[in-house]
Subunit: 162 residues, 2 copies
């Protein structure tokens, strides 16, 4: 089973693809979609949508996981992040993927074992769980963490459906 994790943002959208076979996770690819912030907003959102549609076609994942956005941010940040997230989720659905959403706490719990982990701990554990991933930015690490969390839940979903 193949999983695409997405950490959406208007400037940087982290992504990571992993393969799951039983309890074994394998790193396939990761990266960051960087959109020129001088472009008009519609072009930036169109760019996020197109890049994610391209990733879905390139890697054929079965599931996608995306981080839920905390709403304790200020309304301006929430609106910006919401727009990026809307473009990303529309692309994942348009590619025919099952899209699961997870709170930051659930992702940290799945990867580090505590919902209160910080970014450094998440990056460290992602590197431990996916040793072939090599060097990565924190956006890509967050996306891979989301993919790992999705893998755990997708297995449970598949068992439930069987």
């Amino acid at each position: 089973m193949r999983i695409l994790g997405i950490d959406p943002g208007l400037r940087h959208t982290g992504w990571g693809v992993i393969e799951q076979a039983g309890s074994r996770l394998t790193h396939i690819a990761h990266g960051v979609i960087r959109i020129n912030h001088e472009l008009p907003l519609a072009a930036r959102l169109g760019g996020i949508h197109r890049e994610i549609a391209d990733l879905s076609r390139a890697y054929w994942p079965d599931f996608a996981g995306i981080e839920e956005t905390l709403v304790n941010a200020n309304p301006r940040s929430a609106l910006k992040l919401g727009q990026a997230r809307g473009a990303a989720m529309a692309a994942l659905h348009g590619a025919g993927l099952n899209v699961l959403e997870f709170s930051p706490r659930t992702i940290k719990l799945a990867v580090v074992g505590t919902g209160a982990a910080d970014k450094t701990q998440v990056s460290f554990m992602v590197s431990r769980l996916l040793p072939k991933a090599g060097k990565m930015s924190s956006d890509a690490a967050d996306a891979l963490a989301c993919a790992i969390c999705t893998a755990h839940h997708a297995v449970a979903l598949k068992k439930g459906a069987a």
Copy 2:
């Protein structure tokens, strides 16, 4: 010149198409995209994207106009609206349209002549300016108001470019 106006929302997205020739505006079509709110979020956003892509293919507009979101809302509302807006704008850009954004104040000023107009005044003036439009919901009226505002500005843009 043909213009598509969009009033995005996670439940109801109003849309309206007008044709402009000189100072003459003609109503072409309007409607509301209604997404089943019991669907998962990704499916709702994917639905908004697909419907707007379909409208763009059906009516071949030259320009699209979309209302800017005020950020005085609470973060939870801003996030929801942002997601719908992100899916809509990604679709408009993906269809190759020039997308213009206008504040609610600019739209009211263009349609009613005062930036402080209320919804009833906007609906009334849209019906006056586009007599063939007939009955419409306030979401569709807002979308047509945005299309009228876009028409005014698109003319100025075209003149500037000439």
